[in-house]
């Protein structure tokens, strides 16, 4: 399927169509989800208003894992098929994923104080989430530190693929180790365990986050592709080192 979109032209056309609706959907979803969560839903009978943190925390936590999965798959495609577009997508997804992860950590910590009496506990889910945050940082560090862009992309892709081991750990950590943290209650075998009045704003917000993510990734991939095209053209025009515009095309002759 991705070979169909491999063509940058085709991608740019598609992106032009997708960007506006995703932007609208993303912003609306987040506003409605948060709004409903904050004002329309009842306070939790155990947790009181602190439970409203959920509408920020839970979708952010979901999206952080989703972004990582996206990053890992895009990296796989770019590594194996040396696919420019997938690499640009991975590059765009990483900071967004890191931001979601940070948001989940932050809101979780804030929520933890009233709930567990501590901002932070060393528990498996929390720690694997922290580990995922480090993985995002590692991915971005590789891209920044290695000056040769092509090489940086390939190394970063390996990093992302290796880190994917972490995803199932996050998912199952609560079952493997007894944990303070909630077990999954929305996505679990046997149907959702959350009341629907609280569920729908949550899902709307999550949808909003996802559209928001798609929007920003698309926009960044667009600009990244443009940037690479311009760099290519520049090289072709100057025929070599930008710092030495006087260089003609290097030539070779048989001696």
């Amino acid at each position: 399927m991705f070979s169909y979109f491999a063509n940058p032209e085709r991608f740019q056309n598609l992106a032009k169509w997708l960007v506006p609706p995703l932007a609208v959907l993303g912003l609306l979803g987040i506003v409605i989800g948060f709004g409903a969560g904050l004002f329309l839903t009842p306070a939790d009978y155990q947790q009181g208003d602190a439970a409203r943190m959920m509408y920020v925390h839970v979708p952010a936590a979901w999206l952080s894992s989703f972004s990582y999965a996206f990053l890992a798959v895009a990296s796989l495609i770019s590594f194996v098929w040396r696919h420019n577009l997938a690499d640009a997508a991975a590059k765009a997804a990483a900071p967004l994923g890191a931001a979601f992860t940070f948001l989940a950590l932050l809101t979780g910590a804030l929520w933890g104080k009233p709930m567990w009496g501590a901002y932070w506990v060393w528990d498996a889910r929390l720690t694997s989430m922290l580990v995922m945050f480090f993985l995002y940082l590692g991915y971005m560090a590789v891209r920044n530190i290695v000056p040769d862009e092509a090489r940086a992309a390939r190394l970063a892709a390996i990093t992302a693929m290796v880190g994917a081991i972490n995803l199932p750990i996050i998912k199952f950590s609560v079952d493997w180790w007894s944990s303070l943290h909630q077990p999954s209650s929305v996505f679990r075998t046997g149907g959702s365990a959350i009341d629907s009045s609280m569920l729908w704003p949550l899902l709307v917000a999550a949808l909003g986050y996802t559209a928001f993510f798609g929007w920003l990734v698309l926009v960044q991939v667009q600009t990244e592709l443009e940037r690479r095209k311009i760099a290519r053209l520049q090289r072709r025009l100057t025929g070599g080192r930008v710092s030495r515009p006087e260089n003609p095309q290097r030539s070779v002759s048989d001696g």
């Binding site: 862009e149 260089n247 290097r250 030539s251 070779v252």
Partner: protein
């Protein structure tokens, strides 16, 4: 040295081009070598000799053209010739804390070559130093050890980057003679050099020209 026991190969490059660090280094390099032939690469500093050798070895990817090898009577195959190449770069690649002999033993094991190492060391004139720590050798003695490794590796294609650097006149001539013997045994060699390295045999030259 044990007699050469490799399968002779032909090697050719067509319209080869290579970028390094995003900048073009060379374009449109073509050559063809039959068993027993050598190619000398010449060119100014930065012309791309090392880069071309790396591309032939498959160590650095190229952006245009093809490198192909073929055994006698077979088709040209596009795969890089990995596994049939003995490489001698600018660096000597010795472990300085191991003895001269231990360094050579490593390569003999890698290549499953049970030749008599003393003979090989003698051939390049460093048998007296076999038990010395490699880090204590003089620059030219280290380079001679690299030459001994070439003999141990026993591969059909030799890629040599300035083989005579640090060698005295006698050793430089010896390395010409060894290359020439390699060619006679049906080997191929591509050699980048700034000196007048000229092994007796069928030798052509390629001049890489750096613009600047």
């Amino acid at each position: 040295m044990s007699a050469a026991s490799f399968i002779p190969l032909s090697l050719r490059a067509q319209k080869l081009g290579c970028d390094r660090g995003g900048h073009p280094v060379f374009r449109g390099v073509s050559f063809s070598l039959a068993p027993g032939e050598a190619l000398i690469l010449r060119g100014d500093n930065g012309a791309g000799k090392t880069s071309l050798l790396r591309v032939i070895a498959g160590l650095t990817p190229h952006c245009e053209g093809v490198v192909q090898t073929r055994e006698h009577g077979e088709e040209w195959s596009n795969a890089p010739a990995l596994g049939q190449i003995a490489w001698q770069g600018h660096a000597d690649a010795h472990k300085l804390t191991l003895s001269v002999r231990e360094n050579l033993v490593f390569w003999a094991r890698i290549h499953k070559n049970n030749a008599d190492l003393e003979t090989v060391l003698d051939e390049v004139g460093i048998s007296a130093f076999a038990h010395m720590q490699t880090g204590q050798l003089s620059a030219g003695q280290k380079r001679r050890l690299a030459l001994a490794r070439l003999l141990i590796q026993n591969q059909p294609i030799w890629l040599l980057d300035e083989p005579t650097a640090s060698l005295d006149a006698k050793a430089a001539q010896m390395s010409e003679m060894l290359t020439s013997a390699h060619l006679r045994a049906g080997g191929i060699a591509v050699i980048a050099t700034h000196s007048n390295f000229a092994p007796p045999g069928k030798v052509s030259e390629l001049n890489l020209v750096a613009a600047a």
